[in-house]
Symmetry: C2
Subunit: 121 residues, 2 copies
């Protein structure tokens, strides 16, 4: 069991092709004993973005603050604080931050469909 604040947890730059100005903190993950899913916090700087990609596991996302867009179903859709986004497995997606940056939670299952540990879980 644990209590950690997203604004007091060190974040690490996301090192992945296609990423610009994004950092991540794993808030609850496999090493904390989470048996089913992991909770990560992302910050994307103004003008930054996450990779445009798809993978064999889903995302459940919550927009904490700021603003931006998510690519989903082939179109970019506006995001604001309080939005919940469900991105099923194998759907192409990307998050882009607007002027004020974008802070969001992104949850993933700890195991992908192929049975391997999910990256960043």
């Amino acid at each position: 069991m644990l209590i950690r604040n997203i604004n007091e947890t060190p974040m690490s730059p996301v090192q992945m092709e296609g990423v610009k100005g994004a950092s991540m903190a794993l808030m609850v993950g496999r090493e904390d004993g989470a048996p089913n899913f992991a909770l990560r916090c992302f910050k994307v700087e103004p003008g930054g973005h996450t990779p445009r990609h798809a993978h064999d596991y889903e995302h459940e996302v919550f927009v904490v603050s700021g603003g931006g867009e998510v690519l989903l179903g082939g179109a970019y859709r506006e995001l604001k604080a309080g939005d919940v986004v469900y991105i099923p497995a194998d759907h192409e997606h990307q998050f882009r931050a607007k002027d004020q940056g974008l802070q969001f939670l992104c949850l993933v299952p700890v195991e992908r469909q192929c049975g391997d540990p999910t990256p960043g879980s």
Copy 2:
């Protein structure tokens, strides 16, 4: 796939013994096709609380706004916006709201250890 805002989604009172002044909205769940975990939003009125209980599945919680306390490890601990709480399976817990009320996300696996669907998923 979907985008829904927690402040624009109708909430239903939580009807359960030991609950006072709590409402819930299922934001992403089994009916949306979520294969592994469900995302719910809770609001607890000032002075209200969730049940003091334990169950065979974990919670991952994010405090969106307001203030309150969580019973965890036998003690009540202060909560503030941005806090992430991990409550492992079979750990007794309860959320209590302070003067400004408490709004939080609470995620659960869609299937409990016994194999049944998790309530509220």
